[in-house]
């Protein structure tokens, strides 16, 4: 057994101490997140490969330009709101973790509660966006929008109908937008949404346990810290989903 006063690394790693100064649960949460990062990266790299192998790709500024309450032609507006909601929710959960270190039950409940609400707002926004795109004819393995081969502008089916009826001249070289785009979009944002969903459920369970005083009795709020790690990871993944689908 290595003594506690040992200073060299060799002694630190020979057993009896915690070389990483982190307990099992937190450490394993970190390595789970590392593996999950690889899962998401393979999805996003697949997206990159398929996009690079396709001649025409929809313009995100045309596809994602609507928001609730009849807002149209506002590229990035709604998704910026969603992104900000998720970041804010992450901030709330970080504050819950800090309060947890102080064994402040009320503080944890307040900030964790706000974090959960932020997550629900994000998920609700995503549900709205999915519904909107489905109405426009974009769904898994289905894409009715068209791309102007010259300018890269993307048109929904109903927009083209409206243009036709009002006598506007349609772009000359219209090509069908790839189904790959919609399949990848719904699959990857769906997989991320599933993470958000399970994160909300786990956070609610942690919140109930906090309210019941489970962590107070243990004098240990590490569970809040572990849930926090997962929740920030979900936020982290969204940064790159946002980059790949909406910005590039």
């Amino acid at each position: 057994m290595a003594s506690q006063t040992a200073t060299t690394d060799k002694v630190n790693w020979s057993g009896g101490t915690m070389p990483f100064k982190a307990r099992y649960g937190k450490l394993m949460m970190w390595y789970f997140l590392l593996s999950d990062a690889f899962t998401f990266t393979t999805f996003l790299v697949t997206y990159g490969l398929l996009r690079f192998s396709t001649d025409y790709w929809p313009d995100p500024n045309d596809v994602f330009s609507s928001a609730p309450f009849g807002i149209h032609n506002a590229p990035l507006a709604f998704v910026s709101f969603m992104t900000f909601m998720l970041i804010l929710s992450s901030v709330f959960v970080v504050l819950a973790v800090i309060e947890g270190h102080r064994l402040n039950r009320k503080g944890v409940m307040l900030w964790m509660g706000l974090g959960i609400i932020g997550g629900i707002i994000f998920l609700g926004s995503q549900a709205w966006e999915w519904t909107h795109l489905k109405h426009e004819g974009l769904w898994f393995d289905q894409n009715t929008s068209m791309i102007d081969a010259d300018t890269g502008d993307t048109y929904f089916e109903h927009t083209l109908h409206e243009m036709e009826e009002s006598g506007e001249t349609l772009p000359e070289n219209l090509v069908p937008a790839p189904k790959l785009f919609t399949s990848l979009f719904f699959f990857i944002t769906g997989f991320h949404g599933l993470h958000v969903f399970s994160g909300i459920i786990l956070n609610i369970i942690a919140w109930i346990n906090t309210a019941k005083g489970v962590y107070d009795r243990k004098k240990d709020y590490e569970m809040i810290e572990k849930m926090g790690l997962y929740w920030h990871f979900v936020d982290l993944v969204w940064v790159f989903v946002f980059l790949c689908f909406y910005l590039l």
Partner: protein, 111 residues
Amino acid sequence: MAHDLTDEQYKSQKRAVWMATLWLTIITIFEVGVSLLWLQFEFMPRFMLNLLMILASILKAFYIVAEFMHLKYEKRALTLSILVPLVLFIWGIIAFLIEGESIRSLREIFS
């Protein structure tokens, strides 16, 4: 493990979190603002805009991992054991994007 936070640490940690929040907000507004301005004026080539967006996202990732996930303050060995495997991403991204480009040129040749 827990309840080991002095008043001073508590205050400085909270300040660090709010600073990180401020930066994340500024970077997000910057990303969206530059994208929208680019749509209007196209003041630089597309690939430069993309590069800018990628760098901004990596900066955001840094703030989330370092401050929110507290990795900056963990033991160095733990930090390295998380970050070093990510080096594989560099290979993955380069290799598969080149592969995608190759698939497209092959399709052009054979169709």
